[in-house]
């Protein structure tokens, strides 16, 4: 009965929408693989939260563009002090939150202090904790003082973890988000879809073309293709059906773009687990892996090989794919030199995505050729997070790390790789304190080399960002430095 009601309601609304389409279409339906667990990006780690809310409901001081550039958003302009420890923002004037509250420097101070607080579950909490003081004495100016020079602060402040929220609505952002962005939260049918509506009180409302947006959640690649073909979805950024891409490319109704994400797909190794604590064994694994076979077999050829924990889109990227070429003979020799008794038995834990499940079978077959017997353990995300990520109960796993410029995670000895190296930690400390882009690139270069030399993990490929969309829809991103669907930039031809 309830389903019948929804169905009737749905048919009714779609009839209304198609009536409106006759004039100019002003609604869009976006497909997403995962549903967000909540809607507060400052308190939840799931990338799907940003895909719905970032730039649409919530805004930060700065905006990261498709090409990784930083431009003003809630801040009009900014300036660094000479020692790079003080960052001063001039804020936009006359900005209001969607509930009518004015946006001032006090909101910035409140948000960042909340992000750094003890109870905070912010993914980028360490960054906010590195802010020594926030001066909000002038409502239009915010002065951030950092404990150490912070060249990367502008990037951190452009992430969805640094959006500005209002103290009045802070407690309910996860279920009913209220921000300064061009869209207000509409409805959320858990397990199916979520809607946003254009906010006419937005400071630049005249330039927003899309009035209604619906996000539909479907994790099955076949269902994604079917929904696109049926016209139920106008665009699927981060499309997973890699096998169906060529069919969409041939179909004039669709436009397909292939760009790069920040996803670094790796075979993560438990560096404390014997015999994986032996550099030679890790190198043997690296030499046994044919990246091309994995990219072809698991991603239908979409993906760019990488040799360390950085993507070709990032500043300071160095191509290290030649350090461990596919060489099974060398792999066997290294295993022999390491004194490992063959066949060596290891486990390979695989989360749900195709790059892991299909890629993992190829990896297992390649390792078997050099005398490493791998037992595949397929797990769901929750099991992966608790078993591998939290409890470090694994030998090998295949995973894509999607956070931009997250090479610093290797400086944390408690991270699930369990890589504890003082030299590396020093490089990262210097990188974080880099005074300019040139020296930042120098240190991030050293970091990449160090990770490859120590063969901490096996670096496979950069995850491609494939977007399949209605050919008439414009304003979609090709590359995906961050997880975002910028509705304000979209329009219909």
């Amino acid at each position: 009965m309830r389903h019948a009601f929804y169905l009737a309601f749905f048919l009714g609304t779609s009839a209304l929408v198609s009536g409106a389409q006759a004039a100019t279409k002003d609604s869009v339906t976006i497909g997403m693989a995962l549903e967000p667990p909540g809607l507060d990006p400052t308190m939840g780690a799931a990338a799907a939260i940003g895909e719905v809310t970032h730039y649409n409901i919530f805004e930060g001081l700065t905006k990261i563009g498709e090409d990784f550039s930083v431009s003003p958003l809630l801040a009009r302009s900014w300036s660094f002090s000479k020692d790079l420890k003080t960052l001063t923002f001039q804020l936009q004037q006359g900005v209001k939150f969607q509930d009518g509250q004015p946006f001032t420097s006090a909101d910035v101070k409140y948000s960042f202090e909340r992000d750094a607080a003890k109870a905070s579950t912010n993914k980028d909490k360490a960054f906010f904790a590195s802010i020594q003081s926030i001066d909000a004495s002038n409502p239009q100016v915010v002065v951030l003082k950092f404990k150490a020079p912070s060249f990367q602060a502008l990037y951190h402040l452009g992430m969805n973890t640094a959006v500005i929220i209002d103290a009045k609505s802070a407690a309910t952002e996860a279920t009913h988000p209220v921000g300064t962005g061009p869209y207000t939260f509409g409805t959320w049918t858990k397990g199916a879809s979520l809607t946003l509506n254009k906010w006419d009180g937005y400071r630049d409302a005249a330039h927003i073309a899309i009035r209604h947006a619906t996000f539909r959640f479907m994790s099955d690649p076949a269902a994604e293709s079917a929904a696109l073909l049926a016209g139920d979805i106008d665009a699927f950024p981060r499309f997973q059906g890699v096998e169906d891409v060529s069919a969409f490319q041939k179909d004039p109704r669709f436009k397909v773009t292939v760009g790069g994400t920040e996803g670094k797909t790796i075979i993560a190794i438990n560096n404390k687990q014997k015999p994986l604590d032996n550099l030679k064994v890790r190198q043997a694994i690296a030499y046994a892996i044919d990246r091309k076979a994995i990219i072809d077999g698991a991603m239908n050829g979409f993906g760019t090989p990488i040799g360390s924990h950085l993507t070709p889109n990032d500043p300071g990227y160095i191509d290290l794919t030649g350090q461990y070429p596919y060489d099974p003979a060398k792999s066997k020799a290294l295993l022999k030199a390491a004194g490992v008794k063959l066949p060596l038995s290891l486990t390979l834990t695989l989360p749900p995505p195709a790059y892991a499940r299909q890629g993992g079978q190829i990896i297992a077959a390649e390792l078997a050729k050099v005398g490493i017997n791998v037992k595949i353990i397929n797990v769901e995300w929750a099991q992966w997070l608790s078993g591998v990520f939290k409890n470090k109960n694994y030998d090998l796993t295949v995973i894509s790390h999607v956070e931009p410029l997250d090479i610093g995670i290797y400086a944390n000895p408690d991270y699930y790789f369990q890589y504890d190296n003082k030299d590396y930690q020093n490089i990262i400390t210097k990188m974080n304190a880099a005074p300019d882009l040139a020296s930042f690139k120098k240190y991030i270069g050293e970091a990449q080399h160090k990770l490859a030399d120590d063969c901490v993990n096996v670096y496979l490929f950069q995850l491609a960002q494939i977007t399949v969309a209605n050919a008439k829809l414009q304003g979609l991103w090709k590359n995906g430095p961050i997880f975002v669907n910028d509705l304000s930039a979209m329009s219909w031809k």
């Binding site: 069919a247 076979a293 195709a354 299909q358 190829i362 077959a365 595949i376 353990i377 397929n378």
Partner: protein, 284 residues
């Protein structure tokens, strides 16, 4: 009445033949896979992925370049193994419990049958999820889950059949002659209910094959890179638009095996039913 029954009997024979044929084919494939498959079923060959059927690969290759026919054959072996072990593990304690319940009567019978009702309330899928959560995913746990599901099926059938046999004159005669309940159960009851148990075993076998496919499809059964029809179906899901054959072959294999076993079970029941036999004899 007589004519209707004889028509039924005549109609069952082609079913029995077809069922036996399909099951024999399944058995042959599984046995052949033990010694020979066209290609190693788990051999990955990425450059030759998603090939159409050809002389080298009769049914083509899958998303990792593995030979589909070889995987289907290996999958037949897995299905048979699961069916035999799960039915065997379910039938032995099930029949024993049913006989005990029928022989001892009274409170013990009530307790046994209530335990069976309790076990019956857990479908194989639920048991498999519980076992997987505790001991990890794997074919052994899937077999155990299906076996647990089979125990009450056999227990209930055995008790009902045994009760009716127990009431017959020759059993009463044996009891009057001083035979122990165990002796009666083994020497008089079991031979008389064996045919019915065999029919039930065939049906449970087909259910076990279906259950294994379902569990593997969901990730609770056979683990990659081993081949199983359910696992092949689940891996084919992402390729429905580019290579629907990847799903069609294992789907057909499951459907034909279950059909074959069901027909065989039905045919056996008709052939072994003494009443139907009598009718056929009278007609002749």
């Amino acid at each position: 009445m007589r004519r209707r029954a004889s028509r039924l009997h005549r109609g069952a024979a082609p079913g029995l033949v077809l069922g036996a044929g399909l099951v024999a084919f399944l058995l042959a494939m599984a046995l052949l896979a033990l010694v020979w498959t066209p290609w190693p079923p788990a051999a990955i060959d990425v450059p030759h992925r998603l090939l159409h059927p050809s002389l080298a690969h009769w049914l083509g290759t899958d998303e990792l370049g593995r030979d589909i026919l070889s995987r289907l054959m290996a999958g037949a072996g897995v299905s048979l193994k699961v069916g035999m072990i799960a039915v065997g593990l379910g039938a032995v304690p099930g029949v024993a419990l049913g006989l005990i319940a029928s022989a001892v009567k009274g409170r013990s019978e009530d307790v046994i049958m209530q335990l069976c009702d309790f076990a019956f309330a857990f479908p194989a899928l639920l048991s498999a999820i519980m076992l997987t959560a505790t001991y990890g995913a794997g074919i052994d746990n899937a077999i155990l889950a299906i076996a647990i599901y089979n125990v009450p099926v056999f227990a209930k059938l055995t008790r009902a059949m045994a009760n009716s046999v127990m009431a017959r004159e020759f059993v009463q005669a044996a009891r009057a002659a001083g035979r122990s309940p165990a002796g009666i159960a083994v020497h008089h009851v079991v031979p008389n209910i064996l045919a019915a148990l065999l029919v039930q075993a065939t049906i449970q076998f087909s259910i076990a094959i279906l259950a294994e496919a379902a569990l593997s499809y969901l990730g609770f059964g056979t683990q990659p890179p081993e081949a199983s029809w359910g696992l092949m179906l689940s891996e084919a899901q992402n390729f429905l638009f580019v290579a629907p054959r990847l799903a069609v072959y294992p789907g057909l294999a499951i459907a034909l095996s279950v059909l074959g076993l069901s027909l065989l079970g039905d045919g056996l029941r008709d052939a072994l039913d003494p009443r139907l036999q009598k009718i056929a004899w009278q007609r002749a």
